[in-house]
């Protein structure tokens, strides 16, 4: 039994170490924001300050980059969410072989390195349409792979969609547009929200693809990278800290929303009295 206990201690210790490894770098970066030192560091500690937030606030180029990022993200959401929805609806109605092929093409941008997505977009639009890098191409390039994420989210929700609802409405004389607006879309609404959320985040933090198609425009992520390489001050840490805090809030809100949704689904399934459902395995003795 002591061997068992020793192993458990080892496993738990490993897990603690793993989480320390995940969070300590972020904590160090955050801490450096409050150090007076001109170069972001935690050693030596030269005194507590909030000046770097003020410096960040006065940085006009940062605000410009933020504006560009928000414009790009809005464009990506406007394109990727409808495309993802359409793709999921189409896949749902395709049969075996066609479905596999179309699906493979749809997810291929996710398995392609981001730099290549950027490069192919850059070449194609210049050669065919004479469009050079800028906000427009950034939106286009990001949409090409973010739409795939949206498609996967819609697909997951469609899997549990009760098709008979649509059929019943059609039988009762509803038009196709009415069925879509009153039944399909409301059911998919949570997926629309999460797809928009994911699209925003993916667009906002994208670097590899954006780098090739941005032209002379600078998004916030590109701006941070350029600051790290030239002109690094703890103001960059202040910006990072703000972004991380916003991300953490967003992630927690998203996760809680997802779980509430899942719980509701489980309750609904139980109410439906699904007697054929497999018995939940007994909780492991720990």
């Amino acid at each position: 039994m002591t061997a068992e206990r020793f192993r458990r201690l080892l496993v738990n210790g490993y897990l603690v170490l793993f989480f320390v490894y995940l969070f300590v770098p972020l904590a160090i970066m955050a801490a450096a924001t409050f150090n007076q030192s001109r170069f972001p560091t935690v050693v030596p500690w030269t005194g507590f300050t909030l000046d770097w937030f003020a410096a960040l606030w006065r940085d006009q180029r940062m605000w410009d980059a933020l504006g560009t990022s928000l414009i790009v993200a809005a464009g990506v959401i406007a394109l990727a969410v409808p495309i993802g929805l359409a793709a999921a609806l189409l896949l749902d109605r395709l049969h075996a072989r066609a479905r596999t092929l179309v699906y493979a093409v749809m997810v291929s941008p996710l398995l392609t390195p981001g730099v290549i997505v950027g490069i192919s977009t850059l070449i194609f639009w210049r050669q065919w349409f004479g469009v050079t890098g800028g906000v427009f191409l950034t939106v286009v390039a990001q949409t090409s792979f973010i739409a795939a994420y949206a498609m996967l989210l819609f697909q997951a929700r469609l899997e549990r969609f009760d098709r008979t609802l649509e059929e019943a409405a059609l039988d009762l004389g509803a038009t196709h547009l009415q069925v879509f607006r009153r039944i399909t879309l409301p059911y998919l609404m949570p997926a629309v929200l999460s797809a928009a959320f994911i699209a925003f985040l993916q667009s906002f933090e994208n670097y590899n693809t954006t780098l090739f198609v941005r032209g002379l425009d600078t998004t916030l992520t590109v701006y941070i990278a350029s600051k790290v390489r030239t002109g690094l001050t703890p103001a960059v840490n202040a910006l990072s800290l703000v972004l991380i805090l916003l991300t953490i809030l967003g992630a927690i809100a998203y996760e809680l929303m997802r779980r509430r949704d899942e719980r509701r689904k489980r309750v609904a399934a139980e109410r439906a009295g699904d007697l054929a459902a497999p018995v939940e395995p007994a909780p492991a003795t720990s």
């Binding site: 496993v11 490993y14 897990l15 793993f18 995940l22 770098p25 972020l26 160090i28 970066m29 450096a32 170069f39 972001p40 050693v43 495309i83 359409a86 793709a87 609806l89 189409l90 109605r93 493979a104 749809m106 398995l111 392609t112 390195p113 730099v115 290549i116 490069i119 192919s120 977009t121 850059l122 070449i123 194609f124 639009w125 065919w128 949409t143 090409s144 739409a147 649509e166 196709h176 547009l177 879509f180 933090e205 670097y207 590899n208 992520t221 990278a225 790290v228 390489r229 960059v236 990072s240 972004l243 991380i244 991300t247 953490i248 992630a251 996760e255 779980r259 395995p281 492991a284 720990s286």
Partner: protein, 294 residues
């Protein structure tokens, strides 16, 4: 297709098809094809485009072979990405196993949330954190000197070591989640039964857990390798002129060398490398595309 019309009517079907076609044709397939076409042509001034000199050639691909510096950077990118993948696999396996099979159900939501949160944080910011840690006068050097590992600080930034360490940190969560998802569906009773029948710790993993988790391991390795080989942010921030990454060479062809045809050829080589790795993983773990693209 007829199912689509019956369900959504001709108008909506038209909109759906238009959206999907625009996406797949204009944003995905054609750009890729044109990139390959572009890579097979020599760089010419616009006046000569379409002229007698505008012929298909493998010259841009031959450059990688004749330019020994580029070749060594390419090979370095391959082995370093493989190393990153291997290290993340080794680090993540126990974590994924613990979460999926050992962790008390009560604590699981919190643990998963603690994994999800850093996963959401911008890749560039997570890289930047290591820029501060690895700095010459940074906390890691200070700690190692204090512990007596080194007598004086070492340069950790600007070399391959810094890049690899950073990549392991940045891409580790792309390994944890696919493995966790795959292991989660394994019935805990199976492990219990194997243990009751006298199977040892190593045997349980070799014969039950790993075979069950294969698709997850394959996906994790594919994502990690692809992200590492295609990374620009990490080598740009943590590396230096002595530790260039293949993506940086590609970038230079576009924005400093000004030879897009050459850059397209290198980009296609990178893509072939990643596709090759996907096929290798599929063969190695005997999983199909359907298992991977879940």
């Amino acid at each position: 297709m007829t199912g689509l019309v019956r369900r959504y009517g001709p108008v909506l079907t038209g909109v759906i098809l238009l959206l999907v076609a625009t996406w797949l044709v204009l944003l995905v397939v054609l750009p890729q094809l044109l990139m390959v076409d572009f890579s097979l042509r020599p760089m010419l001034p616009p006046s000569k485009a379409g002229g007698p000199e505008d012929v298909y050639t493998l010259g841009n691909y031959a450059t990688l072979w004749t330019n020994r510096i580029h070749l060594s950077i390419f090979l370095k990118t391959v082995w370093a990405s493989a190393l990153v993948t291997l290290v993340t696999l080794a680090v993540c396996y126990p974590v994924a196993y613990y979460l999926a099979q050992v962790a008390p159900k009560r604590r699981l939501p919190t643990l998963v949330l603690m994994l999800v949160v850093p996963f959401w944080i911008n890749e560039l910011l997570r890289t930047f954190a290591w820029y501060i840690i690895l700095a010459y006068n940074g906390p890691l050097n200070l700690a190692l000197v204090w512990l007596g590992v080194w007598t004086e600080p070492q340069r950790l930034l600007g070399g391959d070591v810094g890049v690899i360490v950073g990549m392991v940190y940045v891409y580790i969560l792309f390994m944890v989640f696919p493995m966790y998802n795959a292991m989660e569906s394994l019935d805990r009773n199976q492990i219990e039964a194997a243990r009751d029948l006298g199977a040892g710790w190593a045997r349980i993993h070799r014969r039950i857990v790993v075979p069950h988790a294969k698709p997850g391991i394959a996906v994790g390795c594919i994502m990690t390798f692809m992200l590492a080989a295609g990374s620009y942010a990490v080598p740009a921030l943590l590396g230096g002129p002595q530790s260039r990454w293949f993506t940086e060479v590609i970038y230079n062809w576009f924005f400093e060398g000004g030879n897009w045809n050459q850059g397209a050829a290198y980009a296609f080589i990178l893509l072939v490398l990643c596709v090759g790795f996907i096929l290798l993983m599929m063969r190695l773990f005997r999983v199909g595309l359907a298992d991977i693209a879940k």
